[in-house]
Symmetry: C2
Subunit: 208 residues, 2 copies
């Protein structure tokens, strides 16, 4: 008996994943409100009633995806912090990870979900709070220490760190958006983005 229920649980989880994957695609391209449950069902190849068998509401599905997106973005910054090297090398590593993730679409779509959740007033407050709940976990805030360390070391120009971080993430968000409009668009090299951090003359910038 326990064996069988475990197996069922696995099947159940697989179905949930299947629906979440389909939902990610249509949410990212149409927006939360414009997405109908039947769009998700069609993308997943099953009936709309079955979606309700696995989830309580459209909002719950969207909410799960926002959580997933927020977690993976925090995770990458923490990995960058743990990366061995100078602050600028940490930033380069992180930038490369993010730009590479744009090649495969799942990460790009998760990025777009986060952008939607944080920019649209049509998103329920409970969902928005998943992102704004802990200000100290925002990408900008998490990146400030790295930037400050780089400035102390003289690797990074001495502009306002918040402005630098905002500009950096504007880049990243803008590229994610671009990617959905134009899937084959050229993705720049990490070093091109990092130029905003570097003094023009006699910098410690180098190619690997």
């Amino acid at each position: 008996m326990p064996r069988k229920s475990e197996l069922n649980q696995e099947l159940r989880d697989a179905r949930k994943e299947q629906i979440l994957k389909a939902a990610l695609i249509v949410f990212a391209r149409r927006g939360m409100v414009a997405t109908k449950i039947s769009d998700i069902a069609k993308e997943a190849g099953l009936s709309h009633g079955l979606v309700y068998h696995y989830f309580n509401s459209k909002e719950e599905i969207f909410s799960l995806l926002v959580k997933k997106a927020a977690n993976s973005s925090i995770e990458i910054i923490q990995q960058a912090n743990a990366f061995k090297g100078t602050p600028l090398e940490k930033l380069r590593w992180m930038t490369e990870q993010i730009l590479n993730s744009f090649v495969d679409s799942e990460h790009t779509l998760l990025f777009l979900i986060m952008i939607q959740a944080s920019t649209s007033d049509a998103i329920p407050a409970e969902v928005k709070e998943l992102l704004t709940g802990d200000q100290s976990l925002s990408p900008v805030m998490c990146t400030l220490p790295i930037i400050a360390a780089g400035q102390e070391k003289g690797e990074i120009i001495s502009a306002n760190p918040v402005t630098l971080a905002v500009t950096y993430y504007a880049f990243i968000q803008g590229l994610a958006i671009n990617k959905i409009q134009w899937p084959e668009c050229p993705i720049p090299d990490a070093n091109l983005l990092l130029k905003i951090f570097i003094n023009e003359k006699g910098s410690s910038y180098h190619h690997e």
Copy 2:
């Protein structure tokens, strides 16, 4: 009789403008599909029936705003082309205009409308065609000649011009999006963005 009808026409136009202005605000913040006609009416301070007296549908209103946004973005690039100076100076002037426009909200909101129209599958094809209709009028395409001229002059690094243009507009779009999430966010100086175009050593970059 002609006097009176002219006056009426002016009042009519003023009302239309009032509704369009209200629509811009709610469309930008909620997205086209999530915006109800009653949201627009409430923002404009009138009844929802009156909105239908001046416009045929929600789509028509959104469509007019997309046209307006597309025109003003083309216009600024043409002005940059006409600007007296080197290619890099043209780009600096254009960047300053765009960043300054982010201070006042109307331009930022128009930017967001364009981003929505080009990224969301929920936007009717007829509206999307207002932006993709003439590929040669896209911001990226219009900016390529300036970048190429700058490369020939040695002012701009010799990377793929399309990649440079894509990266530049990713920046701009990302900043517009940031502005709506965080209205008081610091807007970088034009020179910070332009660093992506410039060789690190011995560049012609200068402060004014």
